[in-house]
Amino acid sequence: MISQSPSVVGSSIPRADAIGKVTGRTKYGADYSMPGMLWAAVVRSDRPHAEISAIETDDALGIDGVEAVITAGDIPGNNVVPVVFRDQPCLAENVVRYVGEPIALVAAATQEIAREAAGRVRVSYRDLPAVFDPRDAMTPDSPKIFGDDNVVKHWRIRRGDPTQAFKTADIVVEDTYRTPYQEHAYIEPQAMLAIPTSGGGIEVLGAMQCPFYVQWALVEVLGLPYSKVRVIQTATGGAFGGKEDVPSLVACQAALLAMKTGRPVKLVYTRREDIRSMSKRHPAWIRYKSAADKTGKLLAVEVEYILNAGAYATLSPVVLWRGTVHAVGPYRCENVQVDAYAVATNTVPCGAFRGFGSPQILFAAESQMDRLAEALGMNPVEIRSRNLLKMGDTTPFGQILKESVGSEEALDLAVKQSEFASKYRSFPAESKNNRIKCGIGMACTFYGVGLGAGGAHLARTGAFVQMLADGSVQFAVGTTEIGQGMETVLGQIVAEELGVTADRVSMLPVDTSRVPDSGPTVASRATTMSGQALRNACNPIRKILLEEAALTLGCSGSDVSLARGYAADDRKEIEISQLAARAIKQRKHLASQGFHVAPPTSWEEENGQGDAYVVYSWATHVAEVEVNTATGEVRVLKIVAAHDVGRAVNPQAVEGQIEGGAVQGMGYAVMEHIPMENGVLQAEDLSTYIVPTSKDVPDITSIIVEHPFSDGPYGAKGFGEHPLMGIAPAVANAVAHAIGIHISEIPLIPERVLAAMGK
């Protein structure tokens, strides 16, 4: 029988890791233990800015069961956890710069003893003047946290002549926008286990997105060669950017104690410690000015974008860069001035979070589009259609779009599915005399896939693939499964390449010793980058299978197809498992490494022009809300999300990203925030930091648009971050539609909504 099979790529097969996760067998960082293992705890600053005058460890060391207490002076290598710059110490030395900064480490026989001993390490401080607001930190007389002006990074875009365009434009709208901290609230707190090796090296395993970042930090802090530092990712219980750079800190903390004691050391953060000291989405202050002509053509945009970086640079320079590139949104605009600043303050360092500096600025950009439309008497769809970037257009940063631009299709489908036009007309009249008012709003967004010019030096990936004697396949990559479904999707790609069924393919644990440095698992890059590296790795294996099949079937290799576990020409077929057994018996090499380097990108720093990213994903979000005008409560009822993803390798996984991103975005829009007072976060647990529960979930409709990308596996583009990005502005625009008032700060909590309505 000749098998005509549907392709593996493009089908919604169940997740490869689902059975382990539903049975509780999957092991996360905190689930690993070792004989002789010690537990760690971290001593942290309770001051936002102070000199350390003394650290007394005798009390802690005197507790039965305490094995070691470490301070900065005990670090064998460099006291630096490198990210973009090298300003962040592993343990504070002389000065602390934020509440929660690590000062000392304790190892003890149990977690209880370690935590008790950490509480008994006495740190004496001499307080220094502190600064908490980034705009205060930019003033000349502010205390200096970073360099001589606290500006961690300034990016700009200069295009055309905005000043002239504002003078002659028919319509100009301007406002100042503010966005809050967003806490990742991954359900698994940070966890790491460090094991000293017999060769004087270290093995570290735990929760992380970026094993090669962790390895780099360990090399620095322990003063070991790369060859003696091995990092293994365990199953990771949610990340969203919150396990991008900060696990390097956790790993170094556990590893320092492991090297000092010669014993395995496990470190698991408490939820409070995690919220207090780990990275978050940067709070932002944005001044945004836009101009249009009578026809709705966007003429000019001028933006000042300020992020609160916190006490150290960490990822802020690149978070800010993505925000800068996305500042205008997915529109044509010939006159642009963007000045973006990440500014140091005495607060917890902010970092990566799904969208990476773009959700803040897109909230402002897409609010502005609605205000322009209102001023012109246009509807929100018209003004967006009028300006939306299409194939062949030039972006506000001077890049010509050459392929895979599904912007219009995403807009059209989302508008139709949501019945935007009719609801936009009917809602105001329908709820005119009601206390509860309905509104509908939208946002169009784009997302630069991968690291782009901001991280081009990291834009490569390695892979390893091996077919075994029974035709089953193992593969390894350097990017990580963090819940997004990478393991499944990459398994589908390998299965497709080698003609086996997906259940015959297994991913090996991600381990820095298996493949070369593959960069971080960020920027929605795992499917495209590791997918391409795996295809490269599959090529020589596929070639051997085709040769073997041709010999066996008595045909030419070019007539053979590999699918569904069989090699076949138009008459006969043979099981691939038999071909594999035969090839291995003949001493053929059925294993291969693959490597992929991203196509070139560019960025000219002076004017902010260049081919910023290789390709873009495109989306339109529509949100329907009801606003209780008596209480100020906003309920998001429906979300329609249309995404151009290039090619959906696994449509169910794509939907999962859309639904999860929508709800996370809804949290950002209406409930999630952390007030900060004098450098102290005022929410430290999940009863004061409120994330959406099952009862808050709106009805979500996912629409998949596929405009293939030539350098993505089977046309796929990265998009995992994108589902969050347009939600806040779509919801805010819907609220404005409901109550007739634009609110320029999120989240849209009841007190803010009431205040906006003058109540």
Binding site: R15, R25, I187, G656, E659, G660, V663, L686
Partner: protein
Amino acid sequence: MTLSIIANGRRRTLETPPDRRLIDIIREDLHLTGTKEGCGSGECGACTVLLNGKPANSCLIWACQVQHGEIVTIEGIAPPEGLHPVQEAFVQEGAVQCGFCTPGMILSSVALLATNPNPDREEIKHALSGNLCRCTGYSKIFRAVERAAESLRNGK
């Protein structure tokens, strides 16, 4: 104290301080690491187990409170080689992403379906409101519970 409990159908007797948390007994003494700690204060539901048939946050329960009690963890709802219909439905509907909330979510669902074999969407949302999920947006979890309810009603 000498604690005697039935865990996943087996009687267990162990020495433990009376103020030890049930989650620590489960994870460290019984080596059942499928029960997860997400917050330690009863807010996230990742540590949900069935205590005498009802869902409970095992991080908030002391050893002395469970004497002679019956505990079911994620490892105990199906035979080793099989899946409970709720587990099967979570797999099929794509209701799992990072998986850290999954054991608790499944146990809360099992408890719901034991008392309400045909819950509507609102009842499902209510039953799961103590279990936080940060990945899925919950939608596929709701569908999984509905699917499991149907298979259980059909005697699968």
